[in-house]
Amino acid sequence: MTPNPILKVLSTLKKHHVRCLLIGGQSCIIYGAAEFSRDSDFVILSTAPNLKRLQKALKALKAELIYVPPLALDYLERGHACHFRCTAKDTKGLRIDAISKLRGCEAFDKLWKRRNTVALKNGSIIEVIGLRDLVQSKKTQRDKDWLMLNRLVENDIILNRDNPSADQMKWWLRECRNAGLLIELAKKYPKRAKECVMDRPLLSFAINSDIQELKAGLHEEEMLERQKDIYYWTPLRKELEILRRKTKK
């Protein structure tokens, strides 16, 4: 097996002209929020030609469907994810998950326009979901996603703290989940903080340096998003249950 089977998967998808973006743990590495991940997750354009290209790429990787639903446009368009395991030599055992809709995020064409392209020394190109869309996609029911979301936002603050644009300041104020840091941001950028209060009312606690209320507000905000994610997945999970039972028969 090659040292990094993810790169092999990426190059195979590229070779077959699959329109997709790297998301999940690998994209968190690219943005500095993680150092290692076994995940290989992609958001893909759900069109018939692109699906055909994906099928060819999966065939080249000898990737087998390991779970329901089958790879089909209607499932992808309803928000399902399709799961595969590679059996080809260089990628043996690697999981590939493909999805075409991310809850709370815009459609693929918008994600594609906002993507980041990473060029490696060997000439490989990695198309990765934009940071802001990645952060949005991490607002799930899973603890690990919220930890990652925090790191992604804090990294952006650290890397760009010397000369942020007004747009960046506002994004930090809207997305930062570290109460102490949020109070510091509100002190540093009071005008921007006031502008963002309408969008994020808990910023009034940051402006007043009320850390207890701010922490409570952040917790409430997170719980609300987690609940939205659970509601979103409930009908899809029911559908998966039915498919699983059918598959077992």
Binding site: L7, Y67, Q141, L181, D229
Partner: protein
């Protein structure tokens, strides 16, 4: 050159993670390649860890 004055919350963060953050995305990919090599050599599993919070988690599934 004017020295950047860091706030307390930021300073703590820098001490822990600045080295990794100072890499470019491409350099991070190269570094993670090294971890892959080690991970595979140690016989690490490529299956995702079961996560009961995942919407894809069902008991007794391949996950």
């Amino acid at each position: 050159m004017k020295k950047q004055r860091n706030t307390h919350a930021i300073r703590e963060f820098i001490d822990e993670d600045m080295e990794w953050l100072s890499l470019t995305p491409a350099q991070r990919i190269l570094e993670t390649n090294k971890l892959w090599k080690l991970y595979i050599a140690l016989g690490g599993s490529l299956d995702p860890e079961p996560n009961p919070q995942s919407p894809f988690y069902f008991k007794k599934t391949p996950r």
